[in-house]
Amino acid sequence: MGTVHRIHHFAQAIVDVEAGSTSKLEFLSRVDGVAPRDLEAFFESLSPRESLGIVLDQVELATRFQREFGTPCSINVDNKILLNESTRAELLERLTGNTIPVTFEFTEIFPMPPAQLVNPIFGRLRECSVEIALDDFGTGFNGMSLFVDYDFDVVKVDRVLIADIASRTKKAKVLGLICDMIGSLGKCHVVEGLDNEGALRVLQELGYSVFQGFYFHRPEPLTEFSGLSVDPSVRGAA
């Protein structure tokens, strides 16, 4: 039996500056005894069933949050849940009949099952009021095939693409083109990692309007954010 870890839920606002409001909250996790830089490795070490447990806990929290405050929530979903047949089936079964809007974010850093398998699952998740987002867009070579072959509703532009944007005019032009292309494909965007006003001004001029980052909001424990009573999840690491 592995070590038992307590997982604490945090939330960070995703802000729509045109609407002047928080459009969503992304749930983030912190784990007792695991340094922030090691979180990725920690979650990668979990079994598909443990990852599914975290997602289902967060779906429940998202449902409570949406009912209480009217703000939809966004949850990081490990690709391994879709790779495993049993957890894939259970995820769909547990969400059947769900009418509370929620976003599932999938990253392009880890392997994903073939698009022929995943796109129908995305279709079924949409029937359960789940919006599908591609996280970390623009990082790593895998991003090319993931974005091209898989059917996402939202593209989350990674922070690496906006680094130094205020002082790099050529990069800004390309980012503007990327914004137009995302819109032409009928997808929504979120720019991640916004941490200064200069970048916000440039990105707004380029057509971006939905942002996440320290400039607007630092992640806060969900309990403080909402006043909801949230018991930490307990997971055994592999």
């Binding site: 623009g138 091209v148 690496v160 693409l161």
Partner: protein, 180 residues
């Protein structure tokens, strides 16, 4: 139920797979085409049908509540193998379709006219208009219009694929710090 298969079936299926369009969400450009076809031809049902190995899947459909059917039931099998447009004026008297479940049961197809949708040089599916009653054959102008709409659907499928590739390439190039 037997149906004709195109001579280039393997290459056609490979092209369809490469386009990554099967099982994707509804998209407005395709819904516009089916809605316009419904209004222009005054038919109750229109579909953009993509013919996969074992099923036909509808990228857009109006007038019928379905996302796919078994391939063996697909009228569009004949369209993607025909020399030109494929039209059936009364399926209830056509021996190829008289026992077809889409004729004997919902949605009770009687009239069908389909034109191929071509992308990556292959007939990946068809734009088809359908009715629950028999209709006269389309005239030349109507055929041109329907063919034009099918061509537009094919260009849209190809264009969106290219756009996704270009966007992914651009973003990846930026990550690699090629954009100083």
């Amino acid at each position: 139920m037997s149906y004709p298969k195109p001579h280039d079936e393997a290459a056609r299926l490979a092209a369809l797979s490469d386009l990554s369009i099967l099982d994707t969400r509804p998209e407005r450009p395709f819904d516009l085409i089916t809605e316009m076809a419904r209004d222009i031809f005054d038919v109750p049902m229109v579909a953009i049908s993509l013919v996969a190995e074992h099923r036909q899947w509808f990228k857009s459909i109006v007038g019928v509540c379905a996302t796919e059917t078994p391939r063996e039931h697909a009228f569009c099998n004949y369209t993607i193998t025909a020399e030109a447009d494929f039209e059936v004026l009364d399926a209830t008297t056509d021996p190829r379709f008289v026992d077809n479940p889409l004729v004997t049961g919902a949605p009770h197809i009687v009239y069908y006219c389909g034109v191929p949708i071509t992308a990556k040089g292959r007939r990946i599916g068809a734009l088809c208009i359908l009715d629950r009653k028999s209709r006269p054959a389309l005239d030349e102008v109507q055929r041109r219009v329907l063919n034009g709409m099918a061509e537009q659907a094919g260009r849209e499928i190809e264009g969106r694929r290219v756009l996704r590739q270009a966007l992914a390439t651009l973003a990846t190039s930026m990550d690699a710090n090629l954009m100083q």
